[in-house]
């Protein structure tokens, strides 16, 4: 640390999911200046893309909205969206952080009126719905986006729509000439909360993810069930938009598997229990089969497991399927051995959901090299001698391990406290 105490008392938080938001607010409300950097155009991370939260099945906006209010009210939090860190130099108390900003082409005068969207003729994959549908070249990330500001896709600019969009905006919010920028920030401590991405289901070649639109992953299932998803909240078979009434949920799709992710992702069992509830709420006559090795509903969440287990139309089949084939009628056939009675099965379904695990986002792209280190799976964990060596970089949320929302929030609060200690020089 530089002589005479830290030069900067600012805390930089990288990644604006539930963990980053929490760390930023906790530090700011304690009286510290915070810069919150987010790569995408809006905050909330993966949680915004859920239909509902386990275990109470409440809507994610309940939890997020109040946090957005706290950020809005607190002048100490400076939010920067569409920004990524490209380098860190210096030491605790005086880091220089290089940042790259991707253009949004929309400034803060935007009122989200949507006039630009009405004149755009480009269509781009909708990232909010994992590309399951399209949005216009001028779009609002989603209906609860924070900041509530439009984004112009680079595709629309490339298609020469810039001037037309600019003319359509009566608030002068559109700037088609924005370019990618790089700049430096000063911070005394850094909290890394870059979260996760679903393990790539296409790598599970025996599960035929790319061979049928009716084989999807668990984050896509969240969108299929959500009112602002591609089907308006109806759980329909993607191939023909017919109701998906016979549904297979495949646990540990790539998790606990030496050929893929060797660790238990900890939340996908609960995610699938939630998905069983989504299907059963929509269809009186639905059948849901959960294929599992063992159900891992940790601590207080066991009650949720017990509740779903009581539903006679949800079957728990103790078996990790060997493979999924496409039947002659085009329906996916789940094949394997039921381990309780050793029956070999080959069962057709309307929809198969692969419960893929959470893989740390940090496995790709820039990550800090001091303070934290990558464990064998790519999660950023404290270095054995990190804090002792006077380092001020900490990790939280799923960037630090496979956690649910409440555990992510706890770890974020803990990281905020460590960051405060670092910038105070205590």
């Amino acid at each position: 640390m530089p002589q005479g105490g830290p030069k900067s008392q600012t805390i930089l938080v990288v990644g604006g999911g539930i963990a980053g938001i929490t760390a930023a607010i906790e530090a700011a409300e304690t009286g510290y200046d915070v810069v919150l950097l987010e790569k995408s155009p809006s905050l909330g991370g993966r949680v915004t893309k859920f239909n509902r939260y386990f275990p109470k099945l409440c809507h994610p906006t309940c939890g997020l909205e109040i946090n957005y209010q706290r950020i809005k009210k607190n002048p100490r939090v400076k939010l920067m969206t569409m920004c990524e860190v490209t380098g860190i130099a210096g030491a605790k108390g005086d880091y220089t952080v290089s940042v790259k900003r991707t253009p949004r082409f929309v400034n803060d005068k935007c009122t989200a009126c949507g006039d630009c969207k009405d004149v755009s003729d480009t269509a781009v994959a909708n990232a909010y719905n994992y590309g399951l549908d399209k949005v216009k070249g001028a779009y609002l990330p989603h209906e609860h986006a924070f900041p509530m500001r439009y984004v112009i896709a680079p595709e629309a600019i490339a298609a020469g729509e810039g001037d037309k969009l600019k003319a359509a905006c009566k608030y002068g919010a559109i700037e088609p000439d924005q370019k990618e920028e790089t700049f430096d920030l000063n911070a005394g401590a850094i909290i890394w909360t870059t979260g996760w991405k679903p393990y790539d289901a296409a790598k599970l070649d025996t599960y035929a993810y790319n061979e049928s639109p009716d084989i999807i992953n668990n984050v896509e299932m969240e969108r299929l069930a959500a009112h602002d998803g591609p089907t308006g909240g109806k759980i329909l078979r993607p191939s023909d938009n017919e109701p998906a009434k016979k549904v297979a949920l495949i646990q540990c799709a790539g998790s606990r598997d030496n050929n893929h992710l060797a660790y238990c992702s900890r939340i996908c069992c609960l995610g699938s229990l939630k998905h069983a509830a989504y299907v059963r709420e929509q269809y009186e006559d639905a059948q849901v089969d959960i294929y599992y090795i063992d159900i891992r509903a940790h601590d207080k969440l066991e009650a949720f497991h017990a509740k779903i287990k009581n539903d006679p139309q949800v079957h728990f089949i103790k078996s990790k399927p060997g493979h999924i084939k496409i039947g002659e009628d085009g329906r996916p056939l789940v094949c394997g051995e039921r381990t309780i009675d050793r029956e070999i099965y080959e069962e057709p379904y309307d929809l198969v959901v692969l419960a893929t695990g959470m893989q740390p986002s940090a496995v790709k792209g820039y990550k800090p090299e001091v303070g934290v280190m990558e464990d064998e799976y790519g999660f950023l964990v404290p270095k054995a001698n990190g804090a002792a060596d006077g380092e001020g970089i900490f990790s939280a949320g799923v960037a630090s391990g496979p956690l649910d929302v409440s555990m992510s929030v706890q770890s974020a609060t803990a990281a905020a406290l460590r960051a405060i200690q670092a910038v105070r020089g205590s």
């Binding site: 606990r256 103790k318 078996s319 990790k320 394997g336 051995e337 039921r338």
Partner: protein, 201 residues
């Protein structure tokens, strides 16, 4: 190879799992099995096995020595290695099955059955000619069930044989043999010697 504890009167031999861990090729990896079912569910002929690898491994842990060593599971394994490729715990399923088959012969459990007879015929041809010859392997295999059964099986499969001859999959000429049969004999003798030495150590 030390023999497993000789308490055959008991249904469950609690020392059996340890004996497998120590004596069967790949057996030391059995502790990794999490009973997920991928091996048995992936096996192309899983339905023809009395137990399938997953259950067999559980029976080993339970100490069901007699049932394990007289199972048909290892004899029906075709060594396609699908289970090995897919096992999430990297258990060398095929190797374990292969060596369990060998152990069941050594310990006198394997009754002569379709699979062991075929295996013997195959090995006889390979050892004698340095190659496998369809006609000789098949004939030796059919007649290992006795003359009457041998003729019956031969006649039953005449159509297939004729089809194979027509498409050039089977020949009527002299069996192909390797040139250096003495060399092959020396290799096999050396292998037997090494196996003998290693099973003693």
């Amino acid at each position: 190879m030390t023999k497993p504890a000789p308490n055959t009167s008991e249904k469950y031999d609690l020392g059996f799992a340890n004996w497998v861990y120590e004596n069967v090729n790949g057996g030391d990896k059995l502790g990794l099995c999490m009973q997920c079912g991928v091996c048995s569910g992936s096996c192309p002929i899983g339905e023809q096995m009395d137990h399938g690898p997953r259950k067999l491994f559980m029976m080993i842990r339970a100490g069901m020595k007699d049932e394990v060593l007289s199972s048909n599971t290892m004899w029906n394994c075709t060594s396609c290695y699908r289970c090995v490729v897919r096992c999430p715990r990297s258990v060398p399923v095929t190797y374990i099955l292969q060596d369990l088959a060998a152990k069941s012969v050594e310990l006198g459990y394997a009754k002569p059955n379709e699979n062991s007879k075929f295996s013997n015929s195959f090995w006889w041809s390979a050892k004698t000619f340095g190659r496998t010859d369809e006609r000789l392997v098949t004939a030796k295999y059919y007649f290992s069930f006795g003359v009457v059964e041998g003729v019956k099986r031969g006649l039953d499969n005449l159509k297939i044989a004729w089809g194979m001859i027509k498409t050039g999959r089977m020949h009527l000429t002299m069996p192909h043999q390797i040139k250096d049969k003495a060399g092959l004999k020396a290799i096999l003798a050396k292998a037997a010697e090494i196996e003998e030495r290693e099973s003693k150590s």
